[in-house]
Amino acid sequence: MPPRKLEKKRYLLVDAGGFSGDAVKLVDEAVNNFIGELGASKARVVVKSANPLVVKCARGTENEVIAALALKKSFDGKPVALRTVKVSGTLKALTK
């Protein structure tokens, strides 16, 4: 596919503060609670890695996804704090 036809994405490096549970479920719950199923489908959120937590989303929706993660305060009855450290268009630049 020509590069111009590829949908652009953003990668978020998230500091999960030592969270050791199911990262996919955590991100899924946070995003669905805040932006809902319709918003999540537009954001196309994917967890690329759990440690460090890297979340992929569609360009233009990154602020909604960051806010959704930041507003998550507990998971499975335990407190969590998800803080976005860096936003980048490529995985390579994210981990530099």
């Binding site: 500091d15 609670n33 602020n63 806010a67 930041a70 704090a81």
Partner: protein, 165 residues
């Protein structure tokens, strides 16, 4: 980006700075509970009574006010008018959104969005702060910017709301 968190709880400055803030402040807050407290207002004020907050904004200059504690703060035009007249700034506290969940959070976001729209229109100063009481309520500057964008600001306006002026 040189971001400043203009309101964090006592002792949270080192943690805030480790999250990427260039500085974090704990202003002296006066919680207005009676008419007598109005004279004590020096730096940061908040009140659950809109009339007391109005009185403080009318009496003093260049205050940093938290209107989110007042009932129907988004409908109160006097706050914005007084801020224009006397050079006050308003706080957008992140932790207020964090502490609420579900329907209550969505109502607060609606009110915050309406209030911010008025502030932007009248060119009143506003600052996005974490307003954290403990470490778990602290967030990175990028998180505060994202909340600002969700409340209807542009990214530039949200970044500007974290800078010193």
């Amino acid at each position: 980006m040189k971001a400043i968190d203009c309101f964090v709880g006592e002792g949270l400055k080192p943690k805030a700075m480790s999250l990427g803030f260039a500085d974090a402040r704990t202003p002296q807050t006066i919680q207005l509970e009676s008419q007598g407290d109005v004279n004590k207002a020096t730096e940061h004020v908040s009140s659950s009574d809109p009339k007391l907050l109005e009185a403080a904004l009318k009496k003093k200059r260049s205050l940093f006010a938290n209107a989110f504690t007042c009932r129907d703060f988004n409908k109160n035009d006097a706050f914005v008018a007084l801020a224009v007249e006397r050079g006050h700034a308003f706080e957008i506290p992140f932790s207020y959104f964090l502490r609420r969940e579900g329907f209550k959070r969505s109502v607060l976001m609606h009110r915050g969005r309406a209030f911010l729209k008025k502030l932007v229109k009248k060119r009143v100063q506003y600052r996005i702060t974490s307003h954290a009481r403990n470490e778990s309520e602290l967030r990175s500057p990028r998180d505060l910017v994202a909340l600002g964008v969700c409340l209807g600001l542009t990214e530039e306006q949200a970044f500007h709301a974290l800078r010193e002026e």
